[in-house]
Symmetry: C2
Subunit: 262 residues, 2 copies
Amino acid sequence: MKIGIFDSGIGGLTVFKEISKRLPSFEIIYLGDTARLPYGIKSKKTVDKYSENNLKFLRSLGCQVIVIACNTASSYSTGLLKKKFRIPIFDVLSSGVTASLKTDSNRIGIIGTSSTIESKTYQKSLKRNSKSTKIFSKACPIFVPIIEQGLSEESYSKIIIKENLELFKRNKVQVLILGCTHYPLIKKHIQKFLGKKVILIDSAEEISKSLLAYLKAHHPKEFTKDKRKRQIYVTDQSSYFEVAIKKIFKNLKIKIKLVDIK
Amino acid sequence: MKIGIFDSGIGGLTVFKEISKRLPSFEIIYLGDTARLPYGIKSKKTVDKYSENNLKFLRSLGCQVIVIACNTASSYSTGLLKKKFRIPIFDVLSSGVTASLKTDSNRIGIIGTSSTIESKTYQKSLKRNSKSTKIFSKACPIFVPIIEQGLSEESYSKIIIKENLELFKRNKVQVLILGCTHYPLIKKHIQKFLGKKVILIDSAEEISKSLLAYLKAHHPKEFTKDKRKRQIYVTDQSSYFEVAIKKIFKNLKIKIKLVDIK
């Protein structure tokens, strides 16, 4: 059984790591579209095209279940991909929404890239499921370069976090959805600023739980098998990404392979 | 006479504006590869491919002179493009190097994206022309999102500028090359931090001067013609770019056209 995960870049490795940990007996293939990243500032049309290319590549390697680790691709392209490809597709967005609704809080915050927030997919999905919930959202696109460039411990990063998240503190949100795969990497800083009582929804954890539940129900025999291999593909390899991966995922021991997808 | 300018995104519009001002009687076409930006963190191989596609597109519209407004593409791909296409090609990097050597300073600093700095093209080019010059360089990739997201007036941006440029102050550089098309947009902040005596080399200005000199020598008749049209193409149009363009280029009145290049 092969699970394919794709993301615009390397942030989705948070999802890859979490799924790898929980599903040792499944073969897992990750694709980071580093040649075309970031998706978060691009249009729906462009993100749709890239997402479809990514899925086709993972299908060509035999993946039977797909995980969209990228929030932008989740909010823009899940519908399209589900229509075009008749295989199980899990996306970080739905998992994040489900998890935050389970908390029964009525003041929910969402942070993400510009596209994720402006697409209003999170907001609409929450509203559809819980009409009385007050929703607060803010695009925090500056967080991604801060994380990728290993700057989250710099003194100015504290100020950046404060200025971006003040809105949620002022409005007393009880739950904050981390709507970008990079954000779990600064979870402790976010938690520190918002206080311990605020529940942070980490897409990597939530989607792993959804996937685990699905596979237990539909493919229970796969869990009894031996440990299976993991593969990581990227569409571009540069020193920037190499340094970023080392900074973020200190103990990632899998050789990363370069692939050209059209 | 048509001049084609390309950049990875919208930063090169600083170059477009400067050239437009100085060469009213020339037709000017700008291409911003917003679907694949940024180049600054990607590999030479990938940047070469994108640059070649951009140049081919501008050639297909009849451009006879090409300006590479992107520093990363300049440092990685100028050699390749000059070999493949036998037309005059101007690149921001060479213009910046020439201008900084003219100052006769022997302590020169360079800032740019990760790829530009790591490629060492600026450093090598300076060294080749002036062996005694001391060169100091630093990648400042965080400046681009700060500028594009209109955050340069935020209090933390001052701290970010200070922490990134301290090296140049400490080493008493006399000239600083702004090796990224976005950087002229925070020139006043950089100048304020480094002090008035430090000469800032602005690629947009320098490449316009080089181009003007070339055209005066080779196509003097073109200068007597009427005002000609300008066109701006991008490979992706999203609300992020629309907002960024409005923030950065307040009075840009040209309709931006979307184009799909392969």
